[in-house]
């Protein structure tokens, strides 16, 4: 049976991106044919400005080489304009007579520059700014002529003006608005921008209306005349007064259009066989002219073309950066403010820095930055995440570094870093390598950079920095996903949040039910999503959902920690960090019996036996079990240790019995699985020798009771734990810390430490649940105890008949 045919009209960024997304999720589904009016393969239109400015070459901005089309079996017709869509016979006809039938049609005809309807707008030397041809013509004109006039002081106009100036022309920008970029900037920032550009030698005529373009003796344009009678010389006029969606073809073919091809949230037009994406589209009344929304549309369209039918495009918040070297400018969201909004403004006209943040209901809804835009991506992320900013409001305007670069955020100096600077310490990846991969391979997402360079693919602490490098390398083409909508992995479009909620709401109790019910794209997930789903299942329905060992990382399957040479490390639990001669003797015996090469004291107050062969694990466990010891879970996304100081038991300063408190907590939490590892500490006095300030739950004894701290982290990024409350009794310590941990177990996303969870939901939210709602707290505590009521030592249960098989190798005689 032959494959259905998909025809794409428009070989540009939005259309080809849709094809790429489609090939990613359902390769070989369609016979694909692409028509492009330009004689080039798909290139990055956004980077035409750097080409004009002489900073890049055409070759460098090509996104898909001709080989790419060939490799993917795509028929490409360049230089052919489609003149007719025959929707009855389902075929398209090009200007040279080429015909192609379709089963599905994707229209991505983009936009055209708006040519002012004034006399002379068709003279030689008058052009729009849209494609490679226009760019070539500008470069050529700059070689032969002197005076250029750019009509339109928007992004495109300013980039064109800057490029022409760099090519040696005398450039005047004519703008009808009261200040430049009035659609992206407020008046202050607009004026600052104008000043900087004037310093670069550009001239501006604001609030000027063009009356006509005057023809010279040579036949080409010679001057621009304004309504007030003024006239200036012009050998080249670039019309950059806006773009218009190019929907003439669709409209002529009877597809409903209204200032763009009208599509629904699945990017389908009124003809169900015809989809449309990109600048030619009108979605909920908006036609987008920036690239980020187009990529979001592409993803949705691809999903529906693939027949999966999930995902909706619901519109985009956009951000803007001007690509003029030496000028830093960023704006996003509702930057003008208005009723019900508050503004935080930093204005340093002499230093050339201006920042304005617009806030509504404690959330950032827009902002403008000029001069110092390093924090732009961070603000944009806050805006997209709709993060409650009231706790960082007082230092928000000073940027991420002053707020404290929190958790996995990374810092914001990506653009200034040297190429040789190491970004990913785990995999030794420098900034230069990342930038090169982004450019050479046309990468657009964090995931792609991870796959190609390995940066941010291990501990992940540099993910924020990598995202910023992406943003600064590809500019507006970068779309950071909002945290709570970022897909879990390539197997699904659903986020951790959505999957977790669906499991609870739909009472799903097996991974098969999750994969089927949420339309997973792979038959049984991958190493990223399966452990997460398994955790969500067993934490949501502890006695109902069955743990799936094959969905766990090897450490949690083998109950030991895999080492670089494939051997394992074994750490017996020492409750509260306490041990005794009998245990130590058993450890010493085991170390000798199994020829353990390395014995080490860990940071969590216990002893690590390293270099044990997998087949020896059940034996060493049996020996340690016999001496009364159990698994220390030193390998799991689970309770690790409760570190203690000697406390009032021995210490002359101690106020509380830290060891006894620690042991009680550790026994309560034994065998607790969680989104990520969990460490506790109990100190007997504020000298805090157990270092409770960097633990997920830290308990510090004071004379009148205990202080509880939560969300600390001593790992990748040191985070100081936050004060939660003060309690009087040991029972309260257990109830409050147990309730907090259960809250985290129920709401944390897989691989999210308590500090990241807390950063996401806010300390106030946690206080509301744990301190202000007594019944709620007791319910959380109750659910924790209930889910741990059947806790069993995994070292013991792993020696059951079925479970032990994995440890026994099959010997093959030679």
């Amino acid at each position: 049976m032959s494959k259905p045919r998909l025809v794409l009209i428009g070989n540009g960024m939005a259309g080809v991106r849709t094809i790429e997304e489609l090939l990613k999720i359902k390769p070989d589904h369609y016979d694909i044919t692409i028509f492009g009016a330009e004689p080039h393969p798909n290139y990055n239109r956004i980077l035409l400005s750097p080409v004009l400015a002489g900073e890049m070459t055409i070759q460098e901005i090509v996104l898909n080489e001709l080989d790419w089309y060939k490799e993917n079996g795509i028929t490409l017709h360049t230089g052919k304009q489609i003149t007719k869509i025959d929707r009855v016979k389902r075929k398209v006809i090009a200007d040279d007579g080429t015909e192609e039938s379709y089963d599905r049609l994707l229209v991505a005809t983009g936009s055209t520059p708006f040519m002012l309807p004034i006399p002379g707008n068709d003279l030689p030397g008058v052009i729009g700014y849209r494609d490679i041809k226009d760019t070539d013509e500008m470069i050529e004109t700059a070689r032969l002529h002197k005076h250029a006039v750019v009509i339109g002081g928007g992004l495109l106009g300013l980039e064109a003006a800057n490029g022409l100036k760099l090519r040696g022309m005398d450039v005047t920008v004519v703008h009808i608005g009261p200040w430049l970029l009035e659609r992206q900037l407020d008046e202050v920032a607009g004026k600052m921008l104008q000043k900087s550009l004037e310093d670069k030698g550009l001239k501006f005529l604001l609030q000027k209306q063009t009356e006509m373009l005057v023809q010279g003796e040579s036949g080409r344009v010679a001057a621009v005349r304004f309504k007030d009678g003024m006239q200036i010389p012009a050998d080249l006029v670039v019309m950059a007064a806006g773009i218009r969606p190019n929907y003439a073809l669709a409209e002529k073919s009877g597809i409903y259009c209204n200032r763009g091809i009208v599509v629904n949230d699945t990017m389908q037009t009124y003809d169900p066989k015809v989809y449309a994406v990109g600048e030619c589209v009108s979605h909920r009344g908006i036609a987008y002219g920036l690239v980020a929304p187009l990529f979001e549309q592409a993803k949705v369209a691809a999903n529906h073309l693939a027949g999966y039918g999930i995902g909706r495009y619901t519109g985009s918040v956009t951000s803007t950066k001007l690509k003029v070297t030496g000028i830093d400018l960023f704006s996003a969201g509702e930057y003008m403010g208005g009723e019900g909004t508050e503004e935080i403004v930093l204005n340093d006209p002499y230093g050339g820095v201006y920042k304005k943040l617009v806030i509504k209901d404690n959330k950032l809804i827009g902002g403008v930055m000029y001069g110092d835009t390093a924090d732009g991506p961070w603000y944009f992320q806050l805006l997209k995440d709709k993060r409650d900013i009231h706790d960082i409001r007082d230092s928000l305007i000073f940027g991420q570094n002053l707020v404290g670069d929190v958790g996995h955020a990374g810092n914001s100096k990506a653009a200034e870093m040297a190429d040789s600077a190491e970004v990913c310490g785990c995999n030794g990846v420098s900034k230069g390598t990342i930038v090169q991969a982004i450019k050479a391979k046309g990468l657009f997402t964090l995931d792609e950079v991870k796959k190609h360079t390995k940066a941010a693919s291990s501990c992940g602490s540099c993910a924020g920095l990598v995202e910023q490098i992406l943003a600064s390398t590809i500019g507006g083409a970068y779309t950071p996903a909002a945290l709570d909508t970022k897909p879990m992995c390539a197997c699904t479009d659903h986020s951790h949040k959505a999957v977790r909620e669906a499991i609870v709401a739909r009472h799903l109790i097996s991974k098969e039910a999750v994969f089927a019910g949420l339309e997973w794209k792979t038959p049984n997930g991958c190493d990223k999503c399966r452990p997460a789903v398994n955790y969500y299942l067993i934490s949501s329905f502890p006695h109902e959902a069955k743990d799936d060992p094959q969905s766990r990382f090897i450490n949690e399957r083998a109950h030991a920690n895999i080492q670089k040479d494939g051997t394992y490390s074994v750490v017996p639990r020492m409750w509260g960090g306490l041990t005794n001669p009998k245990e130590l003797r058993a450890i010493a015996d085991a170390a000798e019996k199994y020829n353990v090469p390395t014995v080490k004291v860990t940071g969590g107050q216990r002893i690590d036996l390293l270099g044990i062969k997998k087949e020896d694990l059940p034996g060493i466990w049996a020996d340690l079990n016999a001496a009364g010891m159990v698994s220390g879970h030193a390998y799991g996304k689970s309770i690790r240790t409760v570190k203690t100081c000697v406390g009032a038991e021995h210490c002359r300063f101690g106020t509380q019995l830290a060891m006894s408190m620690g042991i009680k907590l550790e026994k309560m939490l034994f065998d607790m699985y969680s989104p990520h590892k969990v460490k506790l500490a109990v100190s007997g006095c504020p000298r805090n020798c157990a270092e409770a300030g960097i633990k997920d739950v830290g308990v510090i004894g004071v004379d009148s009771g205990y202080e509880l701290y939560i969300g600390g982290n001593g790992g990748i990024k040191t985070e100081v734990a936050q004060f939660l409350c003060k309690v009087k009794t040991d029972e309260e310590v257990m109830e409050y810390s147990g309730a907090f941990l259960q809250l985290y177990r129920e709401e944390g996303w897989y691989l999210e430490r308590t500090c990241h969870y807390m950063e996401r939901v806010g300390l106030d939210y946690i206080k509301g649940k744990i301190l202000e709602d007594e019944e709620g707290r007791q319910a959380y505590y109750g659910r924790l105890l209930d889910s741990l009521k059947n806790a069993r030592d995994p070292w013991e249960s792993s020696r059951d008949e079925q479970a032990i098989k994995q440890f026994i190798p099959i010997k093959l005689e030679a």
Partner: protein, 103 residues
């Protein structure tokens, strides 16, 4: 000339799991079973840094190395792009619920 040797019953390998076959010479072989009960055999050594592939998570027709997360195709032993490398694969067959390996 390699010959098929009996290894174990299919049910001795967990679905989406593996077993290790130790040879007197030539290194360990990992035998995998996926959700569709297809069985594959690879040299138990990741082309990246020699991690034991038998200890990885099996999904579809791939296994993820436990050490640094490379994905290796179970059919051909080739690393999934953009990683590059391959490890040796072995012929394996299932007859009447019994697994045989060509060595």
């Amino acid at each position: 000339m390699s010959t098929f040797k009996f290894i174990c019953a299919l049910d001795d390998i967990p679905q989406l799991g593996s077993r290790v076959v130790q040879r007197a010479t030539g290194g360990d072989i990992a035998i995998f079973r996926n959700a569709e009960d297809e069985v594959f055999a690879l040299h138990d050594k990741c082309p990246h840094k020699s991690g034991p592939l038998s200890q990885g998570i099996v999904h579809g027709r791939k296994v993820t190395c436990p050490l640094h997360g490379w994905n290796i195709g179970l059919e051909d032993g080739k690393a999934v792009a953009p990683d590059v490398g391959s490890c040796r694969n072995f012929e394996v067959k299932v007859e009447d619920g019994q697994v045989f390996l060509a060595v």
